[in-house]
């Protein structure tokens, strides 16, 4: 099918986030939990307008896509995420951007994190998020 014209495509925002969790979490569990907390807080109608997608998630850092008019709602619903797979976890949004490239460059490279609380503290140096193209 022919791709939509750039001017007709839905505008998005990309939220770079880190997950602070008790145990390492898999991407599919996180996706499930993000969707559940969004539809539980906002309702299915608003959650669908938010257009939330977890794009990349590796080593407890990643990018979530949402509609550019619904950043606030998306942030709020991510704040209500308390558990992933029964283990406690918190999503901390590092920043928002209009492109994946910028979000990765600005927020996901060489972010420093204080050690004591972090359970799985690993620096994300060569992240693979750059590989994800807007599709």
């Amino acid at each position: 099918m022919k791709r939509l014209l750039p001017s007709l495509r839905a505008k998005k925002r990309y939220l770079a986030f880190e997950l602070i969790s008790e145990v390492p979490v898999s991407r599919s569990d996180l996706v499930k939990e993000v969707m559940f907390s969004a539809s539980s807080l906002l309702g299915d109608v608003t959650a669908s307008e938010c257009d939330i997608k977890v794009l990349g998630f590796e080593e407890s850092k990643g990018i979530i896509q949402c509609s550019h008019t619904k950043v606030k709602e998306t942030r709020a619903s991510l704040a209500t995420l308390t558990r992933v797979n029964g283990k406690r976890a918190t999503v901390h949004i590092l920043g928002t951007s209009g492109t994946i490239k910028r979000a990765t460059e600005k927020f996901l490279q060489n972010t420093v994190f204080e050690p004591e609380i972090r359970i799985n503290s690993k620096h994300l140096k060569n992240n693979n998020l750059g590989r994800i193209q807007e599709s």
Binding site: L41, R75, A76, E114, I117
Partner: protein, 239 residues
Amino acid sequence: MGKPKFYDFCVHAVPDGENTVEQLAALARHLGYSGIALANHSDKLPQSQPALPSTNEFEVYRGIELVEENPSKLHGLIGKFRKSVDVLIVHGGSETVNRAALENPRVDILNHPAFAKSSGLNQVLAKSAAENDVAIGLTIRPLLHSRGSGRVRLLSDLRANLDLARKYDVSLVLSSGAMSCFDLRSSMETLALAEVCGLEENEALEAITVVPERIISRNRPGPGHIREGIEVLEEGDYC
């Protein structure tokens, strides 16, 4: 105008909560706060006063959340702790406690006033809260942990209190009420959640920046302070 400073005015550390003050302070700092108030419940106080890890950019204020059902005992506790803490919070939750807290100008914040089938406030209480400058504390922890009908109740209570607070000009304080590190949320997320739950943008911002600062400046008067309304600005010999 510089970047606003965010404060989280209700954080519980061991033995009340799960994590130590140092851990909570480190995470809160990472999440973008300029200060937190350690407000353990008064029935679960540690044996000795913990040292507060404050630095120049980040301060841990000494606070307490009083838990007492009997109003006259509550007033006694307020008198006992007022001098030694920066932030005095009352753990609301019954008609008599809410009333006692809101009628005492020495109280800073009344947390979660809601009780069975009531949002906990009415026009009489809201008026006295405004007169005595007692803020209503909105803790986000219950909102995060409940789902479905429980959260619906919390949100409708919040709306009812918000309407009263707007009408009578009562100040609000937005805090995490964290029992562990996993209950802390960054300032931006707290603001977004508050806005989704019905607060206006400026109200939410004020509740997390201006009102806490005002509480601290009220309880930590400057060196020239003599009594409320009287302050020495400049000393000199005017004969």
